[in-house]
């Protein structure tokens, strides 16, 4: 009985969640018989099961709700009032279920209030469908006895049902009805059982632990075999290694759940809020199928709900206010989720009034978070970040819904806990959007292994921005201001802290003049951790700290490395705290925005410098590379005359840069991995030299395929590689695949950039995506072309250009009635809220970061589709 009941509760709760969502959908789309059928079926199943288990209260409620829904099904109009009533009933059912789960029996009390309401509603919505209803109440004989005292008009219904039963052929009504019902249920159950089974979370957790152990053991074995040159274990171990990797992936997958599970309750919440607040709200959800580790999912569920409530409550305006602001009466909240690399990006955006910068400012000053003088120096986006401060709420009045001052700080805490980040962008009057970036899984993470005072530590790669080698006399040198040390990095000062000093391994903080600096970012704060050495990156299995050590804020866990030793995992959040908030905050006041950070390198590009084939260094923009890998040459397999490796469960082709670059047969093979959607290819190189930040100015064009030309990087002539050339070598249909996705007739794109490099790089990319590209080197030329009457579907323009900037270009386009309709997409290395706002005013339709190829293609697709649809 216990198991049966538990299963019933789980199953029913799941069904009810679906009913919730479906009902809200049904209310908006009352003519959709399919939705109604679905709801009806679910409620009916619940009712049937209750009868079977002898749960009279639940059954009576479900029965009454079903009767009302029967009316809808027979064509009665679904009023909001009626839907509310059903939703209330479902809430009551949920409450009963809860106590059922706790106490193993239905709680005392009756539901005559709700049931009579429901029955009144049934009468009100018309009597047209009374005949149809009993069909669906087969097997409810037992409860009818129990229902009797609860019902007002029992006679008519009872008689009706009895009459119906008498017409059934089989005389032993109770039994046959029950078995029939059970049979139907079994059938359904069997159907779903074929596709899925229910497993307890504990089982999965245990499996995950075992797999983690296996991964560790595998790593250890690999380490041992690596030491013995010729070993017969090599081949079977290779196989074991592959199987382990696959197993790990498989088990990780079982922990994944679609994010839609966390969203399920939102439509209902939004609906109730819109009734309560008298606003019209539309909730749009995209990417509900995006999967997340369930541990992560649990932690973001509440923050998401909270943020949606916030948007509905203070983000969106009332209908009158919206009309006055000439916005559509219905406010929109958009939730979207998608995967990007090892992260999931979740966005919550509304088209409401945005954050009230003035009020936040006043509040921040009032709470003493910042002085009055300083607050004026802060940019809007810096001010907006104050909403994450504990106890900060700008809601003028505390409503039922939100504004109690516990809010965004809690959200941020939860997201911090899972190693995620949250960012806010707000445009006054136009809306507010939050972007949450969270790691896919917590159990296995990539970490950088570093050394400090002879001890090794792991730093999660998620928070590592870059590595800098500091040497006295070099461009990146450590400077000191009294006792604190800072790094001069691209004209900015980065506060530094020595890991040895931080961990008390070395008393004296003085001698950090050399060594490696791990530039780390936590939330909006960037700082450098000075370490003595950097080894490599490794996928580590995070194990919780012993309870005796958990109080050390500096560590988030520990792990066993491939060589069998245990090392501590540094918690960057803990480091920030230990930093003494003063130094970081000084820094963050001037250097808060990650995006502004890139802006500081204006005109420069991060380049990966490597050697392949010749002694001359080669370079490729870092942003085009998905990952750098160093793999064991033994893992390279030869298949169909091509080099391949098994990489994350797929075969990844290896492409040599030229004839001179040989795939190694022995030792470690460095690879540059490029990914696009689900596909990856790797470029074989001899040696990865460095990552540099420099002006990319191609001075000598190249005739060699695969090479764009030569540029001076770090004072040395360097070949700039054309990635677009190599991608089709890996997959012949690399670009064609995309073409098919786009459209048949190519759209005309006007591409404007003063940098020939970008023109060269983007043109093939856009062509490959199925666009006809006209590349122009200046905005004036582009404008002249447009005024000449050349037809384009969309223009993409750089912002920073001599003579005529992208902003001016957009304004000129908007100002000319002949071409004012042309969508213009801005392409810029500066992506900050202000820049985007400025762009909006100038008349850009979209704003994309340079090098964000996928973003650009998406923006293009959107703009051209709009253009064609209109």
């Amino acid at each position: 009985m216990d198991d049966l009941l538990r299963e019933f509760v789980t199953e029913t709760n799941e069904s009810l969640d679906v009913v919730d969502v479906e009902l809200v959908r049904f209310e908006q789309d009352p003519n959709n018989a399919k939705i109604l059928d679905n709801i009806f079926r679910l409620v009916h199943t619940i009712k049937g099961t209750c009868g079977f288990l002898g749960l009279p209260r639940l059954e009576a409620l479900a029965h009454a709700a079903e009767t009302l829904m029967g009316k809808f099904r027979d064509g009665a109009p679904a009023s909001s009032e009626a839907v509310t009533l059903i939703l209330t009933t479902i809430d009551r059912i949920k409450a009963i279920l809860e106590s059922l789960e706790r106490e193993q029996r239905e709680p005392e009390g009756g539901d005559s209030d709700l049931i009579s309401d429901l029955e009144h509603m049934v009468e009100r919505v018309g009597s047209g469908g009374a005949q149809a209803e009993p069909q669906h109440t087969v097997g409810t004989l037992t409860p009818q006895v129990l229902e009797r005292p609860l019902r007002l008009d029992e006679d008519s219904l009872d008689d009706l049902e009895r009459a119906f039963r008498q017409t059934t052929v089989e005389p032993p009504a109770t039994k046959s009805a029950k078995t029939a019902d059970a049979a139907v249920k079994d059938d359904e159950a069997a159907k779903s059982a074929n596709q899925s089974i229910r497993v307890t979370v504990d089982t999965l957790e245990h499996l995950m632990t075992m797999v983690s152990e296996l991964v560790l053991t595998r790593n250890q074995l690999l380490e041992i075999v690596r030491r013995h040159e010729e070993s017969e274990f090599k081949t079977p171990l290779q196989r074991l290694s592959n199987v382990t990797a696959e197993l790990q992936e498989g088990v990780m997958k079982t922990r994944m759940q679609p994010i839609g599970n966390a969203w399920q309750k939102l439509p209902r919440i939004v609906r109730d809020l819109s009734n309560e607040l008298g606003k019209q709200i539309e909730l749009e959800m995209q990417g509900a199928e995006t999967e997340l580790d369930r541990q992560v999912l649990d932690l973001i569920k509440d923050p998401l709900t909270h943020m949606v409530r916030n948007s509905a409550d203070h983000g969106l305006e009332t209908v009158e206010q919206r009309r006055a602001a000439s916005k559509p009466a219905t406010g929109r909240i958009r939730l979207s989720a998608y995967q990007e690399g090892g992260h999931i990006i979740i966005q919550i955006a509304d088209d409401g009034r945005g954050l009230d910068t003035v009020r936040i400012k006043a509040k921040a000053v009032a709470q003493g978070l910042v002085s009055e003088a300083d607050v004026e120096k802060l940019s809007e986006s810096q001010i907006h970040k104050f909403i994450f401060t504990p106890g900060f709420s700008t809601a003028a009045k505390v409503t039922n819904v939100s504004g109690r001052g516990v809010g965004m700080d809690v959200v941020r805490n939860n997201i911090d806990q899972i190693g995620g980040t949250i960012d806010v962008k707000s445009v006054a009057g136009a809306g507010l959007s939050f972007t949450i970036k969270i790691p896919l899984t917590l159990a296995i993470v990539a970490a950088l292994i570093v050394e400090a005072s002879g001890h090794r530590f792991a730093i999660p790669q998620l928070s590592v921005v870059e590595l800098v080698r500091a040497r006295a006399g070099s461009e990146h040198r450590i400077e000191r201001i009294k006792d604190t040390r800072v790094l001069r990095l691209r004209d900015k000062l980065l506060p530094l802290i020595g890991l040895s000093h931080l961990l008390g391994l070395k008393k004296d903080a003085a001698d950090i003049d050399g060594g490696f600096i791990v530039v780390t970012q936590v939330g909006s704060q960037t700082f450098g951790i000075v370490v003595d050495g950097v080894f490599h990156t490794e996928e580590i299995v995070v194990k919780p700290m012993s309870s005796k050590l958990r109080h050390i804020a500096m560590f988030s866990g520990n792990t066993i490395l491939g060589d069998g030793s245990v090392i501590m995992i540094i918690d960057p959040n803990g480091v920030v705290q230990a930093f003494g908030s003063t130094m970081v905050s000084q820094f963050s006041a001037t250097e808060m925005e990650g995006s502004e950070y890139t802006a500081s390198g204006e005109g420069t590009t991060s380049l990966l410098v490597f050697r392949a084939g010749s002694a001359q260094p080669k370079a490729v923009p870092l942003s085009l590379i998905t990952r750098l890998e160093e793999i064991d040459a033994h893992r390279i397999e030869l298949s169909n005359g091509r080099h391949m490796i098994q990489y994350r469960g797929h075969l990844m082709p290896l492409i040599s840069m030229s004839e001179d670059v040989r795939v190694k047969g022995e030792g470690a093979q460095p690879l540059l991995v490029f990914s696009d959607g689900s596909r990856s290819m790797a470029l074989v190189v001899d040696e990865i030299i460095d990552i540099v930040e420099d002006n990319l100015d191609i001075q000598v064009r190249s005739e060699t395929p695969g090479v764009l030309g030569s540029a001076v990087i770090r004072g040395q002539a360097t070949e700039i590689i054309d990635v677009g050339h190599f991608l089709p070598l890996a997959f012949e249909d690399w670009f064609r695949r995309k073409e098919q996705q786009v459209q048949n007739s190519p759209r005309n794109v006007l591409l404007i950039d003063d940098s020939p490099f970008f023109l060269n790089m983007l043109t093939p990319v856009l062509q490959a995506a199925g666009y006809a590209v006209t590349a122009v080197g200046s905005a004036q030329d582009a404008l002249a072309m447009l005024r000449d009457g050349r037809a384009f579907d969309v223009a993409i323009t750089d912002i920073e250009m001599p003579e005529m900037s992208g902003f001016q270009f957009a304004e000129a386009v908007r100002g000319d009635p002949r071409i004012a309709e042309l969508p213009v997409i801005a392409l810029s290395s500066v992506v900050s809220a202000e820049a985007i706002e400025r762009g909006r005013q100038a008349g850009f339709h979209d704003y994309v970061a340079k090098f964000d190829r996928q973003g650009l293609i998406a923006a293009l697709k959107e703009q051209t589709d709009i253009g064609h649809a209109a």
């Binding site: 001890h455 961990l503 194990k543 012993s546 005796k548 050590l549 245990v566």
Partner: protein, 153 residues
């Protein structure tokens, strides 16, 4: 204290820490091992010698000399560790050397003398008078418990 049947014998694993003989109830002892590749944990309480990987489990090693206030360990002396478990976590108690397993009668156990060092008294459940030396019975949970408090402070 552990179950006291009328006339019951309990087995103890004996260990020498700082010259003193101690006994640990054998039921609590998982294994005895030689600690290898010990990783020190910066900022950890002094009693914690470090962590190590014992057959895929991360074991927290407790320096019993420190824990019991019995002075510094001699660096050159190879140490042993007694593996115990508490609340699902693995610990190793770092000792100087491990001795034989003794079967002792509960009735022979005497309470701690009142002038015993409070640090020792807090972790000991009683004393046995053996031939030529005294054996102190350690309560594993109390040994581990106080570390936590020290850590929290």
């Amino acid at each position: 204290m552990s179950k006291t049947a009328d006339h019951s014998l309990h087995e103890y694993v004996t260990a020498v820490i700082g010259g003193q003989l101690f006994g640990l109830p054998i039921l609590r002892v998982q294994d005895v091992f030689t600690p290898e590749r010990l990783t020190q944990v910066p900022l950890a309480p002094h009693e914690i010698a470090g962590v190590l990987n014992l057959r895929g489990r991360i074991v927290t090693l407790i320096d019993m000399r420190h824990r019991l206030g019995l002075g510094q360990r001699e660096e050159d002396h190879p140490a042993m560790a007694i593996g115990v478990e508490s609340r699902g976590e693995s610990y190793g108690l770092l000792i100087d050397s491990v001795g034989e397993v003794l079967k002792l009668d509960d009735l022979a156990c005497e309470p701690n003398p009142s002038n015993l060092d409070p640090c020792l008294a807090s972790v000991s459940t009683g004393i046995y008078r053996l031939d030529g030396q005294l054996l102190m019975v350690l309560d594993v949970d109390r040994v581990l418990d106080i570390v936590e408090k020290a850590a929290a402070a």
